[in-house]
């Protein structure tokens, strides 16, 4: 290349950099106003960045927890024992799970029993606790020292000799302990044996059921898209002034590319400040989150960290988004600068391309819904479609607002002022409500989906007979395994009845029966589970079921289930044949479990004739009868170690909240692995149900954060309007317009776009909800009308808030030098 060519490129480059610098200069140039605007933009973008960083930390938070959980399992569960004959080696450590509940909080524990002098130590421990000793987590230590701990102590009698270190804990608030024991047997069911060579078996995490996955993914998208929209909106703060300024540059000869570069320079200042602020917010908020425990969740500060590439993405994407929006916003300035300078009403927005994302989103969701593949395999199309649909809202909104204000003809003066202003700058007006419109759309969609799931669940549970089992016969249910041959159900019920606050104590024992089979290829003898048996005396059985005749020694059998269902779901549940020999299975993890193998295998022969167990009619309560029901006389050969205990009891009205803890203490005295649950307190229920509840809580929390952001966006809107209207207000005030008129005009000017936004959001949100319901293949489409009304109320409230925020500025504009400002 010639020297001249080089010089030319150099000059072009310098011009480019010069444009950019000019943009920066314009952003930080003005008198006192831009600092206010800049810091608003920075705070707005910063909050968005912080939320995005936090959201991108969630997978890591979960992973860090899982990893530590895994690590401590790997140290403990080296290999799962499946009976002594399956492995030839001698284990180095035996361990069994323990745990209890105290005042609604779960405490998990592990019994450890070394088999060699230097056994492996679980993560977070320095050495194994000796027999009768405990190592506890810091949170448990605090709990044990707190007042009222004497109600917990009987269940955790060990002497505390150490504290579990961070790497042995999943979260800072975790309640956990390790205790040393001597009576574990490798043969005990549930006892894990650790072998010298580590063959750590990682269990793959359970995949979420599709409905829950949809809810979670949908929720996350619904909460994060408004954040991005909000960030984009923040960059367009005070855009009218910026357009006018850049149009002036355009008139003296800046070409389109230059205007874009200058606009980029301007936008970038806010974006860079915003990203910096975002990191500050994130780091500060992280520190705060480390000390918070929300809904029983706590996290280590060091776990709240986004993946480096996520962090990089957020850090870079935000400036890119802001610059792109700023450039897109300059389109009109570039095409008709004269119109911008003279404040001519812009040309009509064209509808077609604005509809494209929404149409694509609808088609995408229809496709995912129609596709035979599972949603979890179509993650990208599913989430992409939702994003497109949501992004479509702020695109269609300006058009809708324009349409509405173009129609209006004003009669009163405030209407006239508001409508005329909206006609001139319907874009700004639409933008100010776009974040809220996206949130509304998303949440209405989510509400529809959740309401449908709930309705589905309700309808299923009212249809199925098992729903009746939800009505407990007793207030409290106690379960456990008999701790030794000297303990019995009768003693336990007596001890429980002796407590001051209890009444109506009754109990049953249950047994699990299996059949012995020889398993290829190693010819191992294994017991395979067949059925459950409940041992109930005739008096109680009559209460539980509609039985007219019951003699001691009789055996009842559940009516055979629908054979189809039995084969599909529970192939082991073939009905027990008359005269069949079954062997009792130990449920014990502890010393009792070993008995199963050392003692003569306890066999039990079914009678030649069964009585039919009638269908359940009333509430079955605490005791659910299934499989076999044995009267005590028919169960005499069944040894103590095979018996589990279920006791139900009620509290007197004067019972203190701690009564349940006393019950637990008594249960712990007689039973191994005991637990007591009081209905109507902490959530019981299936795993899926708790995950569902968790996701709901998570979404609720996210919604709160997003709404807080929207609060900021309202403030930003108010600020923008103050900026834009100062002169107009001053002029109107100068010619003697009454303040009330101006106030009304301001209110209408806010209310009209909000109304349009709410209507649009309701329509699109309901459509979105219906489409997602279709994707999840649910039938009982249900709308959450109260929820929707709540959202609409929030929107209405926000109009009032914005107007209220604008009023002081209005008052100021009415007696300051608003007229003089350029």
């Amino acid at each position: 290349m010639s020297a001249r060519g080089n010089a030319r490129t150099l000059r072009a480059l310098r011009t480019r950099i010069g444009d950019f610098r000019l943009g920066v200069r314009l952003a930080v140039g003005g008198s006192r106003t831009p600092w206010g605007r800049l810091s608003l933009a920075a705070i707005g973008i910063g909050l968005g960045v912080a939320v995005l960083l936090l959201a991108s930390s969630v997978p890591n938070m979960k992973q860090a927890r899982d990893e530590r959980q895994e690590a401590r399992l790997a140290g403990v569960y080296g290999a799962y024992s499946a009976g002594p004959s399956s492995v030839d080696q001698e284990p180095v450590l035996l361990t069994a799970p323990q745990g209890t509940t105290f005042r609604g909080e779960h405490i998990t524990g592990r019994a450890l029993q070394p088999q060699v002098p230097d056994p492996p130590v679980p993560a977070g421990l320095e050495q194994l606790p000796g027999p009768g000793e405990m190592v506890v987590s810091p949170a448990l230590q605090d709990l044990l020292q707190s007042p009222g701990a004497e109600l917990l102590r009987p269940r955790l009698p060990g002497e505390v000799v150490g504290v579990i270190d961070k790497e042995g804990l999943v979260s800072p608030g975790e309640l956990r302990y390790y205790t040393g024991v001597t009576d574990l047997s490798a043969a005990g069911v549930g006892v894990a044996a650790v072998y010298p060579e580590k063959s750590s078996r990682t269990q793959p995490g359970d995949a979420l059921p599709p409905q829950l996955w949809i809810m979670l993914a949908f929720g996350v998208v619904v909460l994060l898209v408004p954040v991005v929209v909000f960030v984009a909106g923040t960059t367009r703060l005070a855009e009218a002034a910026r357009s006018r300024r850049l149009a002036a540059l355009r008139l003296v000869g800046a070409d389109g590319a230059q205007i874009r570069r200058i606009a980029s320079g301007e936008a970038l200042v806010g974006a860079v400040l915003g990203v910096l602020a975002g990191w500050l917010f994130f780091l500060g908020g992280r520190q705060l989150a480390g000390h918070l425990s929300i809904l029983g969740f706590s996290t280590f500060v060091s776990d709240i960290r986004p993946d480096w590439w996520m962090a990089l993405l957020v850090t870079l994407a935000i400036p890119v988004i802001t610059v792109t929006t700023a450039q897109a916003a300059m389109r009109r300035t570039i095409i008709e600068p004269l119109g911008v300078v003279r404040q001519v009403a812009p040309r009509r927005h064209r509808m077609i391309w604005r509809l494209v994302p929404m149409i694509l989103g609808v088609l995408g969701l229809l496709f995912v819904g129609a596709s035979s593949a599972s949603v979890t395999d179509l993650q990208i199309p599913f989430l992409g479609s939702i994003v497109l649909l949501l992004i479509g809202v702020p695109l269609v909104l300006p058009w809708a607002v324009e349409r509405v204000v173009q129609r209006g003809s004003a009669k009163s003066l405030p209407w006239q002022l508001a409508l005329r202003r909206l006609q001139l700058s319907s874009g700004t007006a639409a933008r100010s409500v776009s974040a809220i419109a996206v949130v509304l759309t998303g949440i209405i969609g989510l509400q529809t989906f959740m309401a449908t799931i709930e309705a589905e669940e309700r309808s299923q549970s009212t249809q199925s007979p098992s729903s009746r089992s939800f009505q407990p016969r007793h207030e409290v249910s106690v379960r456990g395994e008999l701790a030794g041959p000297e303990q019995s159900l009768e003693e336990l019920t007596e001890a429980l009845a002796g407590l001051p606050a209890t009444r109506h104590v009754e109990g049953v024992t249950t047994v699990r029966f299996g059949t012995l089979e020889v398993e290829e290829p190693r010819k191992t003898r294994v017991k395979r589970y067949r059925t459950r048996a409940t041992i109930v005396d005739c008096a109680m059985l009559r209460e539980l079921r509609d039985i007219s005749r019951c003699r001691n020694g009789e055996v009842f059998r559940e009516a055979p289930q629908d054979p189809q269902r039995t084969r599909d779901r529970q192939p082991w549940r073939e009905p027990v044949r008359p005269g069949e020999r079954l062997s009792a299975m130990a449920r014990h993890h502890g010393p009792a479990g070993a008995q199963e193998h050392t003692a003569e295998a306890a066999t039990w022969q079914a009678p030649q004739e069964f009585r039919q167990l009638p269908e359940q009619t009333g509430p079955s309560g605490t005791f659910s009868l299934s499989g076999l029901v044995l009267t005590p006389q028919a169960a005499e050969e069944i040894p103590w170690w095979a018996r589990s205990v279920q006791v139900g009891l009620d509290f007197t009205d004067s019972a203190s909240p701690d009564a349940i803890e006393r019950v637990r203490n008594v249960a712990a005295e007689y039973l191994d692995f005991s637990g007591a649950h009081q209905y109507g307190t902490a959530s019981a229920g299936s795993d899926a149900m708790t995950t569902y509840a968790l996701i709901r809580y998570g979404l609720l929390l996210g919604a709160l954060v997003t709404f807080a952001l929207i609060g900021c966006s309202l403030f930003v809107t108010a600020a923008e309007q103050i900026q834009e209207r100062r002169r107009q207000m001053a002029v109107l005030a100068a010619v003697g317009t009454r303040r009330r008129t101006l106030g009304w005009a301001a209110f209408l000017q806010n209310a009209v776009p909000m109304l349009v936004a709410v209507v649009l959001a309701c329509l699109v949100g309901l459509g979105l909800g219906m489409l997602v319901v279709g994707v999840a293949s649910l039938d009982t489409l249900t709308f959450d009308l109260p929820g929707m009304l709540g959202l609409v109320a929030i929107a209405a409230l926000s109009v009032l808030v914005v107007t209220a925020l604008t009023l002081p500025a209005l008052r100021r504009a009415m007696h300051t030098d608003g007229l003089h400002s350029e």
Partner: protein, 238 residues
């Protein structure tokens, strides 16, 4: 980009800029209905006419800011109306200078930065741009308010700043829309004297829109526009 269009002789030579038979309407409102105007190097042409007659519109068409619906604007070898936007912008930056009727100073920039703006847009270095801006600010007597922002100066000072900005890049054509609108007689006279001096010194063509005959008298020629069409085109003087 600079188009090669600076003929040296002012009389009988080719005009620098010539718009002919320009038509433009804003929706139903016709603003220009066959307006023509040409200006030679070093010549000052006054465009006069009553309010709303289309003076500003004509000026904007000549400068390539508005695109007429029909008609031509010749500048050197080019028809401005046929140039792509990028080249029209470049022309405005390098060859034209502007004093607009409304909203021309950038409120965020100080007076000296506003004056240096065309140079900066054209890629002139910071120091050089400042130096050249300082020269023109001195000639227009706005040096004292160099650090002020447009919101803090008087209307007349703003207008003088705008004139300084129009002249700073040594333009071939200066378009001035009511450059003395906010000035008292003496200040207006100073600005006009300066403009005509510059036109004379550097053979700059000036298109001057005004409604004041006294200001129009500084021009070499007057074109009256009435209802969007020019009344008296190309009439030689003397």
């Amino acid at each position: 980009m600079t188009l090669d269009a600076s003929p040296d002789h002012r009389e009988d030579a080719e005009p620098v800029l010539a718009g002919s038979d320009l038509h433009l309407s804003f929706g139903p409102t016709p603003a220009l209905r066959g307006a023509s105007l040409s200006v030679g190097a070093g010549e000052t042409v006054a465009v006069t006419g009553s309010s709303g007659s289309g003076k500003s519109t004509l000026l904007h068409c000549l400068a390539g800011i508005l695109m007429p619906e029909s008609g031509q604007v010749r500048y050197g070898d080019h028809d401005i109306t046929a140039l792509p936007d990028k080249q029209r912008s470049a022309l405005r930056r390098t060859d034209f200078g502007f004093v607009f009727q409304f909203g021309q100073l950038v409120p965020e920039l100080t007076v000296d930065e506003n004056v240096a703006l065309p140079l900066r847009l054209a890629g002139v270095g910071h120091k050089e741009a400042r130096r050249r801006a300082a020269h023109w600010m001195e000639r227009l007597e706005v040096t004292g308010i160099a650090d002020h922002r447009p919101g803090e100066i008087s209307g007349g000072q703003g207008q003088r700043t705008a004139v300084a900005r129009a002249l700073v890049a040594d333009p071939v054509v200066v378009f001035a829309d009511e450059p003395t609108g906010a000035l008292d007689s003496l200040a207006g006279e100073q600005v006009m004297t300066l403009l005509s001096d510059v036109a004379e010194e550097s053979t700059t063509a000036v298109v001057l829109v005004t409604h004041e005959p006294r200001v129009a008298a500084y021009a070499d020629r007057e074109v009256v526009i009435r209802d969007g069409s020019t009344q008296r085109e190309q009439e030689p003087v003397r």
